[in-house]
Symmetry: C2
Subunit: 313 residues, 2 copies
DNA sequence: CACCAATATTCGAAAATTTCGAATGCGAAT
DNA sequence: ATTCGCATTCGAAATTTTCGAATATTGGTG
């Protein structure tokens, strides 16, 4: 089978399997049978002439090649959707603001940061897209997004000339399902040696900070799951796979929606969120609305915590 | 038909039709029948819910939406190929240098600039890709290419932090098919009022310079064709559609290969070519080979014309 | 250990999509 | 007016995708 038979569907199935971790779950999400997914995955591997997953027992682990392919697939997909959206809205052009959300940013945080823009007198039409920082920066310089929401400022190493706008910050809390909470809350944090932990991958700001925090206190939890998307961590956490960290501002929300309990706060860590744009002085009305209002409506209530400063590069 | 049925083939057919200008020629190049192309093009238009071409008589002209879609399609395609290449070579990794060539750069020039790297003791393995400047800059920051060959340095407006390395420069000559040459050579350049002209689009350096040159001399040629890819201009020129400009260093080559004649030189215009990389001081051995040797082997022989300077941003 | 539940895969057949041959209509050139 | 080249429509053939049924393998459990 030739490479030109490569279909967006192949890529999509592959992406979903990589995200879900298993063909069975992917097939449910895609409303397809497992055979189909399995078959098409094989076809994709044959077309690319490389193994995307390592089959360990019934577990599918992404190979190195698989990880690379995944990045490409996501980017290709984003482009496809961007094309569709842009063309579709070409006639009735009312896209005021296209926002790229780095996938390390919790969705609820993104919502909180973007919500102000929707409540303006002259409401902004938002168009959201998720992706890796790298892929979103490409979208930014190509003007496919007006703004990126990220968990860190960009610096010289990214090779993109853009500006960071601090939107707000929050502390980090630790959450767990009720049974785990009962066990580990009493002597938090020093009783966490060997405790099962779910973490953001350590190339994220949050992941690195949390690891550092534990090391500084000579605590060694047992890391069970690492992943980029925090929504996935919430699910695992809800299921009781392990303890996990999340923004303190989301405490009540997490408790309510995912039936987990707060077992403590990681004092000293502050998570910050940034808007990244190409303009130092923001002219784009949609972006302006977001950055201005986000700063009024600080993430953490009370306190002097969430400053509204601006840092270049 | 749903969007997920979008196939790489749809995009490819669309791209080829846009390039060739007619379904018939596209079908020849793709080894398919015209019905197929026509049908699939229609399917694509229906999926995107927008007209890609305006049907004027039997001429197909890209609509605005079509032009936008074309850019996306090219970028998506490049990503697909990059993925394929990178994964394919993941095992036997011997890609020393991935180069992006801006589509405004004549292919022969690109060849001349890259050739030195192939003649080294320790030969470099090159991997080339073409595209718009914007799309290539995205590739550069995502490390999918190590180097971009362009007709202009990048500046602050691109929002990419990268460095320009002047590789060489050349004058501009005007060419024409024998019959046109006979008519217009005698009183070049002032007899060119109303002469049929083929131009690079005026968002290219070459196009803008040439227009300026004519305006300064109060000459008003009649512009017949504008396009980005200079190879296409050569073809039109060969067919006698009009006079066209090209790098003086390619005079002999154009005369031989396209049976056209030189009718004069546009004194005062110098076309420069640049390598753009993320590193100011180049460490990448492949890139080093290209930039170093390109400067020794200057584009225009003799003269003091081609300097080897380096400019930041 | 045997058993069970969950998963991935293989193998045909059915469904959907793409391609082509034949035929039609339209525009441009002679 | 005629003819040629091109785009398009239609139905049939070829190809690709999907699914149902069956099989194999893993991991856990009594």
């Amino acid at each position: 089978m030739r490479i030109h038979n490569l279909n967006f569907r192949h890529l999509r199935y592959f992406m979903v399997v990589a995200q879900e971790g298993t063909i069975a779950r992917a097939s449910k999400r895609l409303n397809l049978t497992p055979q189909t997914i399995s078959g098409q995955l094989k076809v994709l591997e044959e077309m690319l002439e490389i193994e995307l997953f390592e089959r360990h027992g019934r577990r599918l682990d992404l190979t190195d090649a698989g990880r690379q392919a995944l990045e490409y697939a996501e980017e290709i997909f984003n482009l496809g959707e961007a094309m569709q959206l842009q063309l579709h809205h070409a006639g009735n052009s009312r896209i005021n603001c296209a926002v790229g959300i780095a996938d390390v940013v919790p969705k609820s945080i993104a919502y909180k940061l973007l919500a102000p823009a929707l409540e303006l007198d002259d409401p902004v039409h938002l168009e959201c897209r998720e992706g890796s920082m790298e892929s979103l920066l490409g979208d930014l310089i190509a003007n496919r997004v007006d703004l990126i929401l990220a968990d860190r400022p960009i610096d010289a190493s990214t090779h993109v000339r853009a500006y960071n706008h601090l939107l707000g910050e929050t502390g980090i809390s630790m959450f767990a399902s009720p049974s785990l909470a009962k066990r580990y809350r009493p002597d938090f944090p020093h009783g966490l040696n060997g405790a099962p932990l779910l973490l953001p991958t350590d190339d994220t700001v949050a992941g690195a900070n949390i690891m550092k925090w534990f090391r500084a206190r000579h605590i060694e939890p047992s890391i069970r799951v690492e992943c980029v998307d925090s929504a996935l961590i919430d699910i695992f956490g809800q299921a009781g796979t392990g303890l996990f960290c999340g923004p303190s501002v989301l405490e009540s929300e997490l408790q309510r929606q995912h039936s987990v309990e707060t077992i403590g706060r990681l004092e000293g860590i502050r998570e910050r969120y940034y808007a990244i744009s190409l303009e130092r002085q923001i002219r784009h009305p949609g972006v302006q609305a977001i950055t201005h209002r986000a700063r009024e409506l600080l993430l953490e209530t009370g306190q002097e915590t969430a400053l509204a400063e601006e840092s270049a590069d």
